[in-house]
């Protein structure tokens, strides 16, 4: 069995109550913090823990928080991100349905660390049932004195409001999310330092819900303990891995950071479906590249994947079998990204539909040999886009060309999709 820290209170059918959360040590970290720890103590513990962002970018959490200057103006804000629209990713939904107070305590601790007054819990419309769980449990936390004015009798006051989104992938990007909360069209912003001037031009940190949920565990058990939960030296903590596609037991599992994909597939997810053989997997949501089976034994952590030229993303693994046309799958992905592009900058708005057109024609059997170098060139140009969306969208295209070029070429030779 794997050690369960985030999912300690996981049970079928309902989230843990406040009483259940507290029985396992819940809100102890907050109690200790407001009584005897300084914001710097929190940030130091996070530094020791090695915790990095679980939402896709993998930025060290302590560094993000330490960017908020001591003398920065007030009010300051925390954004808790449960937009989670990266295909293959559903960990935050499971997390909120497992232990909402773990996430809530994490948000309050983040508020304490940057001396914030308010947090926005940003959540997508398809997760409305989860938004209602959070709202209900926020009220429970308020009544128990963990939230609101003078938390646990201290001089720290902080509250959390749920902000409902109305869809669109790009809202999960931190700067776009802040625009969305302000009721502006959610285009990502460049050259803004959110820790100086974010929401309403005030210091703001935005963290993924899973990242925030790790914080109470770090404070309660120590940074070294958290770091030691990982399988690898390069990893830290446990991770909520999602696995979906042609596997026996798709789901969201808490596993040590750095566990190899082979173990997740064979031991945790029950292997491939009967009749299916592994052809490729995407390691961390749709904006990471396809990887062929030769990478099965690479440790699934940020640095280990980087060393083999890949991105960890959200840790949401998508498994494809031998009957899946990788060109067809890429067509699906790029259709998705072309539609979800916010349309603000030209490389993304114009480039993705161009890539889509080439892939569609290849899939239709109307492709030509020179489409391959053109696709490669266009996918490369996505790095020139304004934000990280387009480079992410290009990742599966690049992966397809790197590992499955022969299959793409087969569409040109046969003048049709060889899988149809």
């Amino acid at each position: 069995m794997y050690e369960q820290a985030l999912f300690k209170n996981r049970q079928e059918g309902r989230p843990a109550t406040l009483a259940e959360y507290r029985a396992g040590g819940g809100y102890q970290a907050l109690t200790d913090t407001v009584n005897k720890l300084s914001p710097q103590d929190l940030i130091q513990a996070l530094k020791e823990s090695g915790l990095s962002g679980r939402g896709g970018a993998g930025f060290p959490t302590w560094r993000k928080w330490s960017f908020v200057h001591e003398n920065a103006p007030h009010p300051r804000y925390v954004g808790a991100n449960t937009d989670e629209m990266e295909p293959g990713t559903f960990k935050d939904r499971v997390l909120v349905n497992t232990d909402p107070h773990l996430v809530i305590e994490g948000i309050i601790l983040a508020g304490y660390a940057i001396k914030a007054q308010k947090a926005f819990y940003f959540i997508r419309p398809t997760y409305e049932m989860d938004a209602q769980i959070i709202e209900r449990e926020l009220q429970v936390a308020r009544e128990a004195g963990f939230l609101g004015q003078n938390i646990l009798g201290s001089d720290f006051s902080f509250d959390i409001a749920v902000h409902r989104s109305a869809g669109r992938y790009i809202c999960g990007e931190a700067t776009a999310m802040v625009q969305a909360i302000m009721g502006r069209r959610p285009h990502p912003q460049k050259n803004v330092h959110m820790t100086d001037a974010g929401l309403w031009d005030r210091p703001t940190i935005v963290n993924n819900a899973e990242t925030l949920a790790c914080v109470p565990l770090v404070i309660r058990n120590g940074g070294a303990w958290f770091k030691g939960l990982a399988r690898t030296e390069t990893g830290a903590g446990t991770k909520l891995y999602c696995i979906s596609g042609k596997v026996v037991r798709p789901g969201c599992y808490e596993l040590p950071m750095g566990i190899p994909f082979r173990e997740i597939l064979e031991e945790v997810a029950g292997g491939m479906l009967p009749g299916s053989e592994l052809k490729a997997f995407i390691p961390g949501g749709a904006s990471t590249s396809f990887m062929p089976p030769k990478f099965m034994d690479v440790a699934m952590d940020i640095d280990s994947l980087k060393q083999v030229g890949h991105r960890f993303g959200t840790g949401a693994i998508i498994v494809f079998d031998q009957n899946t046309c990788i060109l067809g799958a890429t067509l699906n992905l790029i259709t998705y990204f072309a539609r979800e592009s916010c349309g603000f900058c030209t490389p993304c708005r114009q480039g993705l539909p161009y890539i889509l057109d080439l892939i569609q024609r290849l899939e239709n059997g109307e492709g030509e040999e020179d489409f391959i170098p053109r696709l490669r060139e266009l996918a490369g140009h996505m790095d020139k886009a304004y934000c990280a969306f387009a480079p992410g969208a290009a990742a599966p295209v690049k992966g397809m060309l790197q590992y499955f070029e022969a299959e793409v070429r087969e569409h040109i030779i046969q003048k049709k999709c060889p899988f149809k």
Partner: protein, 164 residues
Amino acid sequence: MIPEPLREKLKSQINQAENPREQAVNVMYEIQRHYGYLTDEGLQEAAAMVGATPLELEELATFYDFIYREPVGRFVLHVCDGVVCWMFHEGSLFDYMCRKLGVCAGEVSADGMFTVLPTACIGYCDQAPAMVVNGRFFGHLTPALIDEILEQLKTETCDLVLCR
């Protein structure tokens, strides 16, 4: 003019926020809940209430996929078109629903009951293929199950979780 009770409800909602603009999406949701979609008149009034120009609010309304600027059916079938759902049906379930209901994407079925829309990954990849209908999830979809769900929905009242 939007009805007075709705206006009062919106005003009190806006008053609770630090800044009226924060409530833009919620106000649009409420108007949509009342009329079934965001009407032109509703958009104009909502804009004034949150301190935006109608154009600014239109920019938001047309950006988000859960705000409807045209009438939709009582039930909106948001069919996930994420890659995991795709690998199980390659778009055929979407086509099946459209054929069965005699509609194209975004149109309302003749009985006024249903609209089918492709929707960005709904986060139910472990139960692919999946859809969300008026806030309720349905997974492991097959044509037979879809038939069953549509029949069932026809007999139900339209309780909205947040939006269609």
